[in-house]
Symmetry: C2
Subunit: 336 residues, 2 copies
DNA sequence: ATGAAAGCGCTAACAC
DNA sequence: GTGTTAGCGCTTTCAT
């Protein structure tokens, strides 16, 4: 693996290392001809600067980390797509880390970033995360962090989300409008920002429309398909709701499964609406009414915010919430 | 951002930099007590070694790159999951690059890896890639490459795939068994290994079962949903097939859409089977018969192969194909 | 058992 | 306009 580095270029061109370095970075005090010679040879030999050397020297890695709870999930997949698009455009590299909703993993992954491996972090926290010391520590060390989707308000930084409260309210109201009298909520961890907001939106609508507000209409789902189906089934049997609002796609699919098991017809016996970014929601049986988030744009926005502050030092991340609107798309699962 | 490095540890402990370094790496010629003191302080101060410094010094980055054509795709999503699992287990970091099926992007991304940024590469090539010079160049430079899914046979290395030919043959035969007399194939780029094999499997079955083998029963889809639907629609109108074998999930969904437009009933008017890793294929309307690949395991295997050779130098990647079996899952879309 | 010193490849003062 | 030099933080001979 004969490696071509600046030194070799300098030797071949009878120039100093410094001159070559400057020529490659298009510095003002190098003559045009020299620059051309250098660039020509660099191209010819397929020279690529060693990123570790320059990262070490400049304390910048042109790399960002993305920490997400899971990846087999349309939302995160789209968000990554947005993030990667921006990163590629601006010449950044992206490291992916998956916590699998495991707090301990999140902590140990964060530790790996204490040392300049990356210039910034995009994170959507795990559902089991309640203590944010690991992230505070990173921020204190000067690492810019942008939260997306599952944010944490106690951080002074940018947070990119959707209008979870409003959308949940609307989703619940939609079920009411379609004739539901008893609406259940399949909730995601209440310690999560989105879990909390989606719950609140649901509860407010329940209150406003004078629906039964029994605690047992609320199923706090876990991260285990089997168990979740069990819990949902129990709730169905006990409460016999005529409407279900699922906080995430997975729970909606679990409901479909449970309904099938119990011989319940959607939407006749029970109507279902869910947060979901499934591209083929319309091909489901029945097609699923969804609250769809602009996940790609969210990823793009979060990445753009982060990279902008990385590029110009004098634009530190301020404490702001960027809120995208989701859209409620009515399909058969909530038909009258 | 007061950074804690080896030098600082050494100062605080009244030891030399070298001793601290060795102590941290648990070297044999450091006394137990010294080691303990060093480790204790390192933990206390949350010391993390600077990865750029050690990468530069050791010519190893403990990082691998994953290049994939797209990410909004259940197959790749699962594969990444597998890759990430193995990487995390072995203390490797994973950089994600998406080519969006663009050859030029693939080339320029590959160039970024010429310089030691990563220790190895996992790749599934873009559908527009026909020239592999960029990858050969990397391999010549000594970078281990493992292919998965969309492989390239001309490389002397490990390739992890599924039994595409056999599965395609079986899928087509399945349609025949379900009564189809005229089967269309929605093909993915023939320059792709998988495109080629899936086509061959289809063609062999068509021949074996004496089905019409018109070229116009084969739709070579592009990478544009709109166009693909147009092409598929034309084919449907012209050929009126009673069976469709889709090489990838996206084309199956396009068929669902076209059938809906044309008022064709699946499976009565036309039966559909497809390669697909959609976790909720059974909730589609109608539920979709699929050839499902063990994508997670494929990712795991590819990563394991790569990391094994990275860990022990004397195990270079040999020219072998690791072939996983896919499973044909019959559902309503191919019912009699 | 510990330390001194060289150097990985690059950048950025600072000279000339 | 070009070259010299001193590190970035770490690993690794080689001395002691």
């Amino acid at each position: 693996m004969e490696t071509v580095n600046i030194k070799k270029l300098a030797q071949l061109l009878n120039l100093s290392i410094a001159t070559v370095s400057k020529a490659l970075r298009d510095s003002y005090d190098i003559s045009k001809e020299t620059k051309e010679k250098v660039v020509a040879l660099a191209n010819e030999l397929n020279y690529q600067p060693n990123p570790h050397a320059s990262s070490l020297r400049k304390h910048k890695s042109k790399t960002i980390a993305v920490i997400i709870p899971e990846i087999a999930n349309n939302y995160f997949t789209l968000a990554i797509n947005g993030i990667e698009t921006v990163a590629q455009e601006k010449g950044y590299h992206v490291l992916i880390y998956i916590t699998h909703e495991d707090f301990k993993k999140e902590v140990s992954l964060a530790k790996e970033l204490y040392n300049g491996r990356v210039d910034g972090l995009l994170i959507s926290v795990s559902s089991t995360t309640t203590d944010y010391a690991h992230l505070h520590h990173l921020q204190q060390k000067g690492l810019p962090i942008v939260f997306f989707d599952r944010v944490c308000d106690e951080f002074e930084t940018a947070k990119v989300t959707t209008d979870d409260y409003e959308s949940s309210y609307l989703a619940t109201r939609h079920l009411v409008e379609q004739g539901c009298k008893k609406i259940a909520h399949l909730a995601i961890s209440g310690s999560l920002s989105i879990g909390n907001k989606r719950m609140k939106g649901y509860q407010q609508a329940v209150a406003d429309f004078h629906l039964p507000a029994s605690q047992s209409l609320i199923v706090e789902c876990m991260n285990d398909d089997e168990k979740d189906r069990e819990l949902i089934k129990e709730m169905f049997l006990k409460e016999k709701p005529d409407g279900v609002f699922a906080a995430v796609e997975r729970y909606a699919m679990a409901s479909y499964d449970v309904c099938r098991q119990l011989g319940l017809q959607i939407p006749n016996d029970v109507k279902v609406i869910s947060f979901s970014n499934l591209p083929i929601a319309s091909f489901l049986n029945p097609s699923l009414s969804t609250i769809t988030q602009p996940a790609f744009d969210i990823g793009k926005e979060a990445a753009t915010r982060l990279l902008n502050t990385l590029e110009k030092k004098n634009a530190p991340l301020t404490n702001e919430s960027i809120i995208f609107r989701s859209s409620l798309i009515q399909r058969t699962s909530t038909s009258k």
